[in-house]
Symmetry: C2
Subunit: 424 residues, 2 copies
């Protein structure tokens, strides 16, 4: 029976039942975390041979560079090739960096603030304020980065196929201090949706007031499909070229969830003008990133096909976990009419919308019973979810057995929070 | 016979002889570079087992962290320990980073500009200008970094035991926009000198006008001795504590010339207040550096003693090269009274002072004959050597045979440049 159709007595009885369920689960003393999108240990084992056998003593890149030594600021060619095929860019449109795409994003923004980007009239810090458009719910670390660097965030809502483009276009065109937009365009963190072709084209065709406006395209999950029935995404760099805005996008990606979260490769892709500009700035920061790790990746994956195959092995491990979460939500919550959730075909998250005003309480209840979720609100700029509704579920790290227990608790917490609200 | 004692005819005859020598050497079509302090391939071979055998499939740090995964912003404990013993700091005074100490310096400065350092009243970019004291000749990349980030450089001369401290103290005390000083305190790049205890203590006891003044202590060559008869350096972090200036120093180091220039570990050391402040800022930039490489280093070197032993193997390879350079300079130039050079007991460079006004010409002549040296002037802020005299000799990369040929040419170039000057 739907909670919305229950009368006062029915709700009271249900609340008593659910409170008892909650106490029972709490007494089990669980200790689980589903706070972050972290691959399970078995996923990391898939790449272990990269560490054991890939460098056989010959550390020479096919360019002739000794990967042990200094140099090659933009990455060895064989590492570039992996990403060129993965992201549809040419060798002059990519820089292979260190182990963290977050770091490449942060560095890109702090350099923009201090020095400007290609085509800037002045460094961004010379404006009274700098603003970014932040479709939400989104990736908490994007928003935290803006806050840390003093960038004002303008929240825009997500629709089913990407950000509300009417709003995005309006805001970008309204003010030259609006310098960027954050996008996780494929299997978006946390919603799981992929931007439609129309949304990508509208983004590429924007006419922002700022001539040095940039789309920060965090394509973190571009090959992270759960099955062969997967989403597709237009190539933003191509679309920006077609639209006559070739320099308007910085694309980021990494192998953090392909090889190793702590020891993968990160990349930035952009127009040649952008890349040349970035390389000039970057040459003062470093002599080069870790080419040994680049060589390891190139030897292990061999080519883009190697990555595609590898991702199927990841999917085999994590798809059952996504299925389990959806199964539990359908079984436990659908009949009660509380909560809505997404059905992503890839990525690392399921986005759950609790009844308005309940998200914080759900997270709190779960924590008290031993299951740590991403903080409620974290998926919004300034951690302010206007509906106190969105919760990011990260199913990959726990074992299937642990995940089942955690989701059992989660559903009870959602029920209890909803009942507390209804009976308040 | 000293050139200074030759008469016009003798100089003309000598010039004719040297021109002939130069043309002979030029006709050999050499192709060598001594531009940068790069370890020779045999030095890199010393660490090759780190790549082959150090990670046996178990990637767990003794802290319990899976080094393949996310996290541990400040480095795994076993990697910290290597540096704690090497640099005399505690676990709370060190962050182990990625593969580049240059990057840690750049990031530290750009964050200081954008956000300030511990104790800053405001971000450094909010001042009309920011100035750094730059003892010279010094490391070209320090100076290039300042220039790229818009920091004004104030050149101070080196004495035999460190920077001219009267000048340093005066400048630092004179102006609150003087925010830093660059130091390569041990086997300084390029002079090869090590700061005396008195200089270190005077630095630690400075009373700068800026309360957020920082010593940038690039201790790149702290264990890079050429023999057991080596220099010693006071611990600047200790001395700053004693002086009541605990937060005044950022110390940097790396294993770039211990393990691999492209795949080593970099560190920043500082007071706990500084480190906590930096970690707070850094948490927005990255989830963590490459812990797999940290684990590799910890397993390979085991402890600081392992590093000390390893550096003796490096010394066995490079000391003959330093000896050769000094031998050639003594044999070829000393009798003529042209040029002065240093006699470092460690590090990567010999600093050569050509007769005033000759450095650019020497580098040019050498280049025309196929030997690339560091650009003349590069060791000074804005690439302006007031005497056009200093040339950095980097003897480590070429083989002994190549180095002999290169130094033969070098000495001929110095003679020719000096003779051109004397006969002008």
């Amino acid at each position: 029976m739907l909670y919305s159709e229950m009368n006062k007595e029915q709700l009271a009885a249900e609340k008593q039942t659910v409170e008892k369920l909650y106490e029972e689960l709490k007494s089990k003393g669980m200790k689980l975390t589903m706070a972050r999108g972290i691959p399970a240990p078995e996923q990391l084992d898939l790449s272990i041979n990269m560490l054991l056998h890939c460098l056989d003593g010959d550390c020479t890149s096919k360019s002739g560079a000794d990967c042990r030594s200094y140099g090659v600021l933009d990455g060895i060619p064989e590492a570039k090739e992996l990403f060129m095929d993965m992201l549809g860019v040419s060798a002059n449109e990519v820089i292979v960096g260190g182990n963290s795409s977050l770091q490449m994003m942060y560095d890109t923004i702090i350099r923009a603030l201090q020095l400007g980007v290609y085509g800037s009239e002045k460094p961004w810090c010379k404006y009274d304020s700098v603003k970014f458009i932040c479709p939400a719910p989104g990736y908490d670390r994007h928003f935290a980065m803006c806050e840390a660097l003093g960038i004002e965030m303008i929240t825009v809502e997500y629709k089913d196929d990407g950000p509300d483009m009417d709003e995005v276009e309006r805001i970008a065109a309204s003010d030259e201090t609006v310098k960027g937009i954050w996008c996780v365009p494929m299997y978006s963190n946390p919603t799981g949706i992929t931007y439609s072709d129309e949304v990508v084209r509208r983004l590429a065709n924007m006419k922002p007031a700022a001539k040095d406006f940039r789309i920060f395209w965090d394509n973190a999950y571009c090959v992270h499909h759960l099955s062969d029935d997967h989403d597709t995404l237009l190539n933003i760099i191509e679309e920006c070229k077609k639209a006559g805005n070739p320099d308007m996008v910085f694309e980021f990606s990494s192998t953090s969830k392909i090889s190793f979260p702590g020891g993968g490769l990160a990349v930035i892709c952009a127009s040649e003008n952008n890349i040349n500009f970035i390389k000039k700035q970057m040459a003062f920061q470093t002599i080069g990133f870790d080419k040994l790790n680049q060589l390891r990746h190139a030897k292990f994956f061999k080519n883009y096909d190697g990555i595609v195959k590898h991702m199927k092995a990841h999917a085999a491990i994590i798809k059952p976990k996504f299925d389990l979460v959806e199964y539990m939500l359908e079984k436990e919550l659908q009949p009660l009419g509380i909560g809505k959730w997404t059905h992503p075909k890839g990525g690392y998250f399921i986005s759950f919308n609790a009844p308005d005003g309940c998200a914080k309480r759900v997270v709190e209840l779960a924590k008290e019973a031993g299951v740590v979720l991403t903080d409620a609100g974290a998926t919004y700029p300034y951690k302010r979810d206007p509906h106190d509704s969105n919760i990011r579920i990260a199913p990959t790290y726990p074992s299937v057995a642990d995940l089942r227990r955690a989701m059992e608790l989660f559903c009870v917490c959602v029920r209890l929070a909803a009942l507390e609200k209804l009976s308040a």
